[in-house]
């Protein structure tokens, strides 16, 4: 289907839905011209804050954990390398939803049994799960980026007396960052989409709000359509940023 026909089709569907005949479309639930429609839209859009905050914190944590996992994974010492490999393989194999349930319902019990009594709310439960689950992928992004730097660079750094941390910081990372940032930003798109799962443990983000509205309004098609549109806008903005970053990094490289 071409873009034009799909836009035309969407318009027809929308116009048809605007007549509130029973059994037909019901765009009225999110019609901003009516008070209830306007309030519904506000209710749905208010989920953006939580979705964005959730994604940003989870992505930042994932970037840190990913680096801490990736660095020992490139060591020549197998006792550093293996735990990193095992972590990556293990975490990658767990689907997000079961992990979310385990963290939200199971982890507090585990912590309590070892004497740490904390309750994990939906917000932090979702963040922990998203960050850990994503960190396996960010770790691989770091690894690919760092390993793309010629071995001669680290050798030269050693011969001028730099230690491991200095070599990473002043020689390897400044060069690898061009290969790391664009895929890392791309990975952020996945976190945003995966954050929808937080709805099942009661996190009031975009998807949860849509679900709640569907329960009271019985208009799943219209509400979920808007929900998809919300994610679409968010992801397109990020994609735009990723493209810009790729172009910028790419042009730096050719200099």
């Amino acid at each position: 289907m071409t873009l034009k026909t799909s836009i035309a089709l969407a318009c027809i569907l929308f116009v048809a839905g605007c007549s509130a005949a029973p059994g037909a479309w019901g765009w009225y639930v999110i019609d901003p011209r009516t008070t209830s429609g306007y309030n519904n839209i506000r209710f749905l859009l208010n989920g953006f804050g939580a979705t964005i905050l959730l994604s940003l914190i989870a992505a930042s944590l994932s970037m840190v954990i990913g680096l801490l996992v990736a660095l020992p994974g490139m060591s020549s010492n197998r006792w550093l390398r293996y735990p990193s490999r095992i972590y990556i393989e293990f975490i990658r194999a767990i689907p997000l939803l079961p992990m979310l349930f385990w963290v939200f319902y199971g982890l507090p019990v585990v912590l309590k049994s070892i004497g740490i009594s904390v309750s994990i709310d939906a917000f932090w439960g979702a963040i922990i799960t998203l960050a850990i689950s994503d960190s396996a992928f960010t770790a691989e992004i770091y690894r690919a980026g760092i390993q793309s730097i010629n071995k001669g660079q680290t050798e030269a750094a050693k011969t001028v007396g730099l230690n491991y941390a200095q070599t990473m910081r002043y020689v390897v990372m400044p060069q690898a960052i061009k290969r790391i940032l664009p895929p890392l930003a791309n990975q952020f798109i996945y976190i945003v989409k995966m954050s929808a799962f937080a709805s099942v443990i009661g996190m009031q983000e975009l998807t949860r709000r849509a679900n709640e509205l569907v329960v009271t309004e019985y208009r799943p098609l219209e509400i979920y359509s808007l929900l998809i549109l919300e994610y679409l806008v968010l992801v397109l903005i990020i994609s735009f940023f990723v493209r810009w970053l790729e172009r910028k990094m790419g042009s730096d490289e050719s200099k």
Binding site: E155, V160, L162, Q166
Partner: protein, 247 residues
């Protein structure tokens, strides 16, 4: 320091890559101020040998002592590396830094020198390799010969007692070889201890105190340049030299 002390002592050195033995029972001592040129066919273990001296390759058995420091733990390796400079075939300059930053990175970060002092020292060595006017360019803006001279200056900025060169001119266009070799000869005349892997036999005659010929991971022959070139003792060395000297 006593006259007895050696710059480098290598005893019964062995090195394997998996099941392949790259170095076989290497014994070698280098005096302070001695200039050694190592040659030999491709794959004979020349690079492996000099890379063992600053622990870029980890040896499997044997003893390496550099300036009375025995290589055993990370600390001794760090100390040894601060005495030994190395120049690579592929230059290995840091492409994201300017020439000046390439030279000052080690002194500032590893030695804790002030930026002003480090830059002053860097300019001194850039003058020594005759390219002070390139200080603010990036490595990619320089010719191969200039890049290799920067690499030499970068090593010198750490004020090493010993310099290792691994085929420093093999990646260069012919017209740039001599500008790099001249800089190395200069260093040699100033009394720098050095081991240079090279097939530039003209340079070897000019600068070497001692020649070493390696094959299949062993030191086959060693001797003063005159004897080495005029009357090589082993058949393998003679054959190698006749091939090299043909072009």
């Amino acid at each position: 320091m006593s006259n007895k002390s050696k710059a480098i002592e290598i005893h019964a050195l062995n090195k394997w890559y998996g099941s392949y033995q790259a170095l076989k029972d290497i014994n070698l001592t280098v005096d302070h101020g001695e200039r050694i040129v190592v040659c030999g066919p491709s794959g004979s273990g020349k690079s492996t040998l000099i890379r063992c001296v600053n622990s870029l390759e980890v040896h499997d058995s044997g003893q390496i002592i550099v300036d009375e420091i025995e290589m055993k733990d990370d600390e001794s390796i760090h100390e040894i590396r601060s005495e030994v400079g190395m120049v690579f075939q592929q230059f290995n300059l840091f492409p994201h830094l300017t020439i000046l930053q390439n030279l000052t990175l080690g002194p500032i970060k590893a030695r804790g020198m002030s930026k002003v002092d480090a830059e002053e020292r860097a300019m001194r060595y850039l003058e020594r390799v005759r390219i002070p006017d390139q200080a603010h360019k990036k490595p990619s803006e320089l010719s191969g010969g200039q890049q290799q001279r920067v690499a030499i200056a970068r090593s010198l900025c750490m004020e090493p007692k010993i310099m290792l060169f691994d085929e420093p001119t093999s990646a260069l266009d012919p017209e740039m070889i001599s500008e790099v070799l001249d800089v190395i000869v200069d260093l040699a005349e100033d009394g720098m201890t050095m081991i240079c892997v090279t097939h530039e036999m003209g340079f070897a005659r000019r600068a070497a105190d001692r020649m070493i010929f390696m094959d299949h991971g062993e030191i086959i022959e060693t001797g003063k340049p005159e004897e080495f070139f005029e009357a090589p003792k082993s058949e393998r060395c003679r054959k190698f030299l006749s091939q090299i000297l043909q072009h």
